[in-house]
Amino acid sequence: MHKTMEDLVPGPSICDGAWGTELQALGLAAGECPDAWNLSHADRVEAVARSYVEAGSEIILTNTFGANRLLLASHGLADQAADINRSGARISRRAASDRARVFASMGPTGKMLAMGETDEAELYAVYQEQAQALAGEGVDGLVLETFTDLNELRPALGAAKATGLPVVACMVFDSGPARDRTMMGTTPEHAAAALVEAGADAIGANCGRGIAGYIPVCGRLRAATDLPLWLKPNAGLPEVVEGRSVYRMSPGEFAEKTRDLVQAGAVFVGGCCGTTPEFIAAIVKAIKG
């Protein structure tokens, strides 16, 4: 019997920060497939997972954000989808041991339904393969993150729910004049209604244009549903200085704002692009300390 979302979250729960930039610091090249490192550089992926556990993450994710068959195909790795996911789940579970929960990450396929590049049936099959591989390794939940299109998120959610695990469904709200809609124009209220209807156990927002804009988005999601809310904003947009991206927001400033997110109703908080274990340690201090 899987645990329910209520068993898993008694109160505010600290998640992890970004993985891609951490893997790059360990040698992942630009354009290289991060998920493939679950097979080729498991030790380095585990080092990232461990750094978040040590920083105080109560929930860590897995290095499987792009490990769906459609996205892996662009790296010529479609046939290794199941192995990459299984290995990613095992790596995070080893790092978490009994100190943190593991929620496995599933991201978009990079194909657009509206352009006819894929269809719902294909999406369901692709996410079913990924969700089952992850669930088979004993993760505590699944997180569908960084989605912009409800029509892509729905089949992913259906496939994830079929494993019996609790499922978090998150979208990116960064478009429109108020930066409060998804790229496809979906509002927080519309997303909440659709995701509740589709059976999500928790919903939320991740990535985006920084944490400040996600405080009102969080409040609007809170008003629209009683489900636990998951908020993992990024540390603002990067500036490029001498060919390297630099995020200006400090861990302390970010952590201060996560308190506002909790006040606005977030139950799970963490970071996306530009956040590091230092950010997580600062959030632990701000929220639990």
Binding site: G31, G185, S245
Partner: protein
């Protein structure tokens, strides 16, 4: 007198079937293809861009309007060619080397095709030499570079440097775009134009070639 307003409405609402049948009506009634473009398609697509900027329209609305105009251009293009009228311009597009993201680039391609441009889409992970070869083969006036990642942005500069070394930089304008790109970045690497979103790409391309 042909009802251009009705035609523009069909484009604005992305009703491709209506846009196509109104195009046939126009042509049967003696409307010149160039007039259908200047009084129908262009103002309608400008309005689509304005609605996008104002947050009335989002990506799905952009796409269906672009699709409707693309269907109209398929009818008009042979007629225009017969009269010796050139397309709006020739553009080679691609996501730069090391970057595998194509959603933004595909949106730009759809908008440009809807704007009457001849688009050669080289796909993702495109090496500078492929841009150069395609620009030569198609006699392109513009090369469009896309990147989603901060880590692959530097490949835009590499590409522009390669265009210069290959001696084609004087003949092509370079426009760039993508989530992490800013105007100041575009200026710093010597690009001719930067588009904040797909909706502005047609205007930007027209400006670059003085059309």
């Amino acid at each position: 007198m042909y009802d251009f307003a009705k035609f523009r409405e069909a484009v604005l609402t992305g009703d491709a079937a209506a846009a196509v049948s109104l195009t046939r009506q126009a042509l049967d009634g003696g409307v010149e293809p160039v007039d259908l473009i200047s009084q129908g398609i262009s103002p309608a697509m400008n309005e689509v861009g304005r609605l996008f900027e104002e947050g009335e329209y989002f990506v799905p609305e952009l796409l269906i309007s672009a699709r409707a105009t693309k269907a109209v251009f398929e009818i008009l293009r042979p007629l225009l060619a017969k009269k010796g009228v050139q397309s709006a311009g020739r553009i080679v597009l691609g996501t730069v080397q090391g970057d595998l993201h194509d959603i933004g680039k595909n949106l730009v391609a759809a908008m440009l095709e809807g704007g009457g441009f001849e688009v050669t889409d080289l796909g993702i992970n495109v090496a500078p030499e492929r841009f150069i070869a395609a620009a030569r083969d198609t006699q392109a006036q513009i090369i469009g570079l896309s990147a989603l990642l901060t880590t692959t942005m530097p490949a835009m500069k590499t590409a522009i440097d390669a265009f210069r070394e290959a001696g084609i930089r004087g003949r092509v304008k370079v426009m760039i775009g993508g989530a992490p790109i800013t105007r100041s970045y575009a200026e710093s690497i010597g690009a001719d134009g930067y588009g904040e979103n797909a909706a502005v790409s047609v205007d930007l391309a027209r400006q670059l070639i003085g059309a």
